[in-house]
Amino acid sequence: MKSEGSQPRPLTRIFSVWFRLGIQSFGGGVATLALIRRAAVDNERWVTDLEFTNYWAICQIAPGINLFALTILLGRKTGGALGIFAALAGLLFPSITITILMTAAYAKIRHAPATQAALHGVLPATIGLGLVATIQIVRPLAVVAHKEGFDTLLISALALVGSGAAIAIWHLPVIVALIGSAVLCALHAWIRTLRGTTAP
């Protein structure tokens, strides 16, 4: 089944759909992704369900914010180069403005005793939520590693713990840890396949 996305959409329509997404997208990545999916697949019929899933998968390996990459792909699909800019502008204009205003407001009240008291609750909670994000990234990777066998599990653990140790203990630049782990896992996966030991 083909979506109706092959024909270009009016730029004003693209902008207004993304603008509404930008305003509604409180609560971060997962909530925003669900909103975008509903708009792009169900309401606007820009792409089919499967196309959307494929887009999102590819976006996982793009550098930077995955949601921006998704916005770029959907923008191009609906309106070419101009569609990309209409989509990004729509998504970002409200959220960037609100983020700057909130930061400015916070900077004004930062030293008030009540703000400090509230922060003593909010900051540890932010770190707890950061750990949630960490666990959500690791979980699917751990499942894959477990399925592939002991050697993949070992290499994965080495990449994870090794990068932490690289910056915590040996004070290596972060970029070295990132590239080092990526190359390690790439080589391992490659050698595995050459030996024909890929799990069924």
Binding site: F26, T32, A62, T198
Partner: protein
Amino acid sequence: MRSPRLDKNAARDDGSVNPLTYFLLALKASLFSTGGFGNIPSLHDDLLSRHWATERNFAEALAVGQISPGPNGLWIISLGYFLNGVPGALLSLAAIMIPPFLILGVEWLYHKTKHHPAVEGFVRGLALSTVGVFAVVLHRLLSDIGFNPRTLLICAASLAIGLTKKVPVVAVLLAAAAVGLIFR
């Protein structure tokens, strides 16, 4: 013209923030990472060593980024504002806008190489390493706030509630703020 300094507590003994350098550091951090938080470790490293930002600035920016609308990655807009006002925020925006455009090349390349095992391995290694490095950064942020029973309890509770995926992030943060205000 420089914008007024917003935070007297922010450590800046190394001189003031160089906007171009900040932009390039933010760009590098975003270019070699994926996801909205992937750029934290590298920036944390670079900005703290230059004394342009404090641990506290990072924690505050992350909190604002979680509460405000849009992708979580917008926390860096808030950090840029702490560093250099609105121009700093706009530099952050420019730095996070450029890397996602590489998706156009990635999509093309992916269709050619998606089944190559080294590509899968590379992506997996990048993700694993981001997590390892991120855990170290979270630990540093936490020790800056101070290890005490209340801090650890709030952190653990948010982690547990967050993992259920049933409660919106904003609600967790508002509840945490209330706890902070009530149990001073």
